[in-house]
């Protein structure tokens, strides 16, 4: 079953905190293939992580 955006966003977030299981990875990839919004959200999450570390480390 293809997860909802809400579930996909949870998986994307958890993917930053733990290795996702293979079924989770499969469901998430299937969702991302068809969902532009979650693909954007995924990029935004990557950006947040990068931004906070840049903020922490900037001179």
């Amino acid at each position: 079953m293809i997860p909802s955006c809400r579930t996909a966003s949870e998986l994307l977030s958890q993917g930053q905190d733990r290795p996702l299981t293979l079924p989770e990875q499969f469901r998430l990839r299937t969702h991302l293939l068809i969902c532009k919004r979650c693909r954007r959200f995924s990029r935004h999450l990557d950006f947040l992580r990068m931004a906070i570390r840049r903020y922490r480390d900037r001179e």
């Binding site: 977030s13 930053q16 919004r37 931004a51 903020y55 900037r58």
Partner: protein, 193 residues
């Protein structure tokens, strides 16, 4: 033969003060407590400068000391005023519910942020970023900063705060959604300056 440990000079330690303060401030959200934690760290560093092996970067070494000071402060704060009593988590749960329709779809279209690297070069972006980080509820912010600033694994965070892994992931998810929304509204969705 072991090389002689080079130690760390006072000037080199003092040069890291700004970095350490920013780190502590993100984590403690209290400038007095942040100052104290950094002061204690610098003191411990100066006293133990000879123990610095030079194998790790000075900053990494100092950050390791600071982490302990911050966690000590969390524990003191926890004894004085448990965070759970702050009762500030509800509005945020509502924020997340507001982002998704009943069927689990996003209510709003995610706006395109363009090349985010451009934002990182803009000092006004960092002001927006600070404001958004400060707006996170205390408990959520603590978990999020432990994860993203201290880069602690979730198991360690759970252990320190005595929460379940699921609880931890829920809070991190909320923190990210909330921060994303705030940056979207206050920076990316507003006309370019």
């Amino acid at each position: 033969m072991e090389p002689t440990p080079p130690g760390a000079s006072y000037a080199a330690i003092e040069r890291e003060r700004g970095y350490l303060l920013r780190y502590a401030q993100l984590q403690l959200r209290d400038s007095v407590q942040a100052e104290d934690a950094v002061q204690e760290t610098l003191l411990a560093a100066v006293e133990g400068a000879a123990r610095f092996s030079g194998r790790s970067a000075l900053r990494t070494w100092l950050t390791g000391i600071l982490k302990h000071k911050i966690i000590d402060q969390f524990r003191r704060n926890g004894r004085e005023q448990p965070l759970a009593a702050a009762g500030d988590e509800r509005p945020e749960a509502d924020i997340v519910d507001a982002l998704f329709a009943g069927d689990g779809h996003w209510r709003e279209f995610q706006s395109e942020w363009g090349d985010p690297a451009t934002a990182l070069e803009n000092s006004r972006f960092w002001t927006a970023f600070e404001l958004c980080a400060q707006r996170l509820p205390a408990r959520t912010a603590r978990v999020f900063m432990m994860r993203e600033v201290m880069e602690m694994p979730t198991e360690e965070i759970c252990q320190e705060l005595n929460i379940t892994a699921t609880n931890c992931w829920v809070m991190l998810h909320r923190a990210r959604l909330t921060l994303r929304e705030c940056l979207d509204t206050t920076w990316f969705a507003t006309p370019r300056r």
